[in-house]
Symmetry: C2
Subunit: 496 residues, 2 copies
């Protein structure tokens, strides 16, 4: 055995391969033991003998043996030698032995909810380019100012900013966000009520975990942001799609008869259709939630960008009974990969949510939060929003002009008064997905409007076009390319 | 009405208050409408008249009216005037009216799982100081090198690093982690198999959502890291605590007769007791998982820090059938608030997990990932680990010496061969929690060992002491302070 082993090892050690001899020898011996080539109880050659056979220093072999011993591959008996340990799973208790060998069924071995997550997947491979909806112009971000603040924060860092976080977020950022929301969104909040998250998904996830149980019903808008369906279903909640009308989410008497645990809505700018929830509807929802102990989640994802009039006040600011959870993020104000969002929770829940987020996610990114707090305090956020608002307003005009120039009034434009996108309705189309796929082939990113619906009834067809990240001079040519895809499928498009 | 309204408004506008007249007037009118002081249908004075009465420019009043109109508070009829809109919830459909007014029950209005999350909460308010377990010495982090790389990455940033991420993490970081794990942990992985997360919590959460369903059983070690209990329960999974012995997780025949969906274990360094899982046990678990289609999650949280011998190879590297999910993070190698972790999934699941993480969390922090990739590629990670290993080894010696100097061999020390902490067993103590609380009063952070157990049976008592973040010269004095708390409760401690 000794000489066979040495020969086998030598042949393999001579093969060109990266890494030091020590690591390679250890690896080869492990493989030989695991595969059974070196059987349980076999005695290994002495380190001196093996070293000589392999032309390797004795100390190297000794270190390898020590390592194998520490890992349990071999037993060392003082004065007697080194033996292969018995580690074969044959020692496993009886109950474990019964099952047959079964082939793995890769994809199928995801759980049902894992499979559904993949089936409902909506995130595209490309996240930058005309007319990707929901993406701001990240090239306009004030990099230099940010880097200056970043260096300042890092230079004076304290250990408290680098260790585990306490829950709720970095205090000065919570204060800065509360100040901002009171002014810009007429929100009614103290810094304690602000919980810093990594974005809307984490905010919703925390709300669901703290306020809902498996099986609870949640109202969502129909249509709605595709991302929350997966999140809700994956958490074991039941979604109840509520149609929207010109005043926003419009539950019918049948819906109202069965109060949900949570109501998720986008009052400032319905996603994706763009209407604003009327004051009457807001008051109705608040009163309904009060009577039935529901929670309302207000998703206020891009309300800062309104063209013509100031942003509307938030639903949270109207809430007198502490039932609204306000969620938003800096993804569309600054840049998406920053992953800083926040929620404003009723005062009675503030400490509980701060504790809950620490437990469930162990948050951090505290230095990033510190830089962002200074960025807001020094006025860069306000300046950037104002700059972007006029830039996006211009791009919106250019896109609207391109639509009108090509199609006149044939296709209604929805929700263009605010936000980063508009919806081009294509009501005569049987299916809008082929148009989006064709556009993608031509290099233009859009989303088919039908993809935002949860049920097959009353689906609007069209395309969501994000204009915010597209330079004005690129919009016309990009729309002409997109129009080829529309013309290929829509019978009305070709009627000039 | 007109003059009363003007008077009421004038009185309030005269009160000293921040913000421009425009915003204050809008706010006052909104309040008057919401409270019913201005009833539905009431006609507002003309902007000219109200402006004159309040000594405010007419244009300001016009803007306020436009804003109120946009928000739905008033109706504007051309040529006729401005009227308060009917937005009272009395218009709500019948079904919603039935419920009685019920008082809110703040805390109680958390869902049952939300309440349990708070009840099981383990995150402390202080996260820095002697002897906080699991915290590395963040003050030793190579700040200057990091800032240099950070500025380099930010200066050459591309839009793709700032927009939404695609799923799985920044490619060069996935490659750097795969290279690192193959060398340092004998892992068997390609870059595609590495999924970058925000830490162990997110890694576990993703594994649970992709591989388990509500009601599935999960084996956890008894005792185990307190943080995962909450996470598992909050996801609707059932935890089955499996006792550990000297070789690690030790399922009995009864356990083996009922295969779980997932097995979570800490083979390199059992948390919190510190034993290493034997090779025989590793092979048994792998074989059992293969036979019963279970998944194994290997939590490898601090295996880099072993004193005396190289880190042991990972369980993942032994896996021949693609059933091990390896999870770890940079929290203990670099600093916790960085929030970069990773998982290595079997090749068959790589794309599915990359898609799943994008769907469920919309990850990002891409610039941070880019900086970290360069940090690893330029060798800073390796250098830092080596420096910290010798620093922590020294601190561990100092703490062991302090224990021995004070208590001789009276209290066993567990798991001190590796990691960032050791467990000081206090076997004669009825309850270890009062000791930890007393220590906290004295300014020393520890965790009671009993807090890591899920059932009341066979609980070890003692304290978890983290030494990694405590400068050597602070360890002796801090331990003397801690000893006051031990002496106050443990009858054996005082027997000198």
């Amino acid at each position: 055995m000794d000489s066979t082993l040495a020969e086998w090892l030598r042949a393999r050690l001579e093969e060109p391969s990266p890494g030091p001899a020590y690591r390679r020898l250890a690896h080869l011996l492990q493989q030989a033991i695991l595969s059974g080539q070196l059987a349980s109880g076999a005695k290994l050659p002495s380190s001196r003998a093996l070293g000589a056979d392999l032309d390797i220093g004795r100390n190297t072999v000794t270190r390898v043996y020590e390592q194998l011993h520490a890992e349990g591959y071999v037993l060392a008996e003082t004065g007697s030698g080194t033996y292969v340990a018995d580690t074969s799973p044959a020692r496993m208790p009886q109950a474990a032995q019964r099952a047959e060998r079964r082939p793995l069924r890769d994809h199928l071995r995801l759980s049902p909810r894992g499979r559904r997550t993949i089936e409902l997947a909506g995130v595209g491979k490309r996240q930058w380019g005309a007319f990707m909806p929901g993406v701001p112009d990240v090239t306009e971000f004030p990099l230099k100012a940010w880097m200056r603040l970043q260096n300042r924060v890092w230079r004076s860092v304290r250990p408290e900013l680098m260790t585990y976080a306490q829950g709720g977020g970095y205090r000065p950022l919570r204060r800065a966000v509360a100040d901002y929301l009171r002014l810009a969104r007429a929100a009614n909040c103290q810094p304690d009520q602000v919980i810093v998250t990594t974005g809307i998904h984490q905010s919703l996830d925390l709300a669901m975990r703290m306020l809902c149980d498996v099986g609870d019903e949640v109202w969502i808008e129909e249509p709605c942001y595709w991302g929350i369906r997966n999140l809700l279903l994956s958490s074991g909640l039941k979604t109840v799609p509520i149609p929207v009308d010109g005043e926003g989410m419009a539950p019918t008497a049948k819906h109202l008869a069965r109060p949900p645990r949570l109501i998720i809505c986008t009052p400032s700018h319905q996603y994706p259709l763009g209407m604003v929830m009327s004051l009457a509807r807001r008051r109705m929802l608040l009163e309904y939630a009060r009577q039935h102990d529901c929670w309302i989640v207000e998703d206020d994802y891009d309300s800062e960008f309104r063209y013509g009039i100031r942003p509307l006040a938030s639903l949270q600011g109207l809430d007198q009974h502490g039932q609204v959870i306000y969620v938003s993020s800096f993804s569309k104000l600054l840049f998406p990969a920053m992953r800083v969002g926040y929620m404003v929770v009723p005062a009675a829940l503030a400490d509980l949510f701060a504790q809950g987020i620490a437990e469930l996610y162990r948050e951090g990114h505290t230095l990033l939060q510190a830089i962002l707090a200074e960025f807001i305090d020094e006025g860069y956020l306000g300046t950037h929003i104002r700059r972007m608002r006029s830039l996006y307003a211009e791009r919106r005009e250019v896109l609207l002009a391109a639509v009108r120039a090509r199609y006149g009034e044939r296709f209604p434009v929805l929700g263009g008064e605010s936000g980063l996108h508009l919806a081009l309705a294509l009501p005569h189309l049987g299916d809008d997905l082929p148009v989006a796929l064709k556009a993608q082939e031509l290099g233009i990113l859009t989303r088919a409007l039908s993809g935002y619906y949860n049920t097959a009834r009353a689906v609007q067809r069209g395309l969501l076009l994000g204009y915010a990240s597209v330079p004005s001079e690129r919009i016309g040519p990009a729309f002409d390319t997109l129009a080829q895809a529309i013309d290929a499928f829509d019978p009305r498009a070709r009627r000039r």
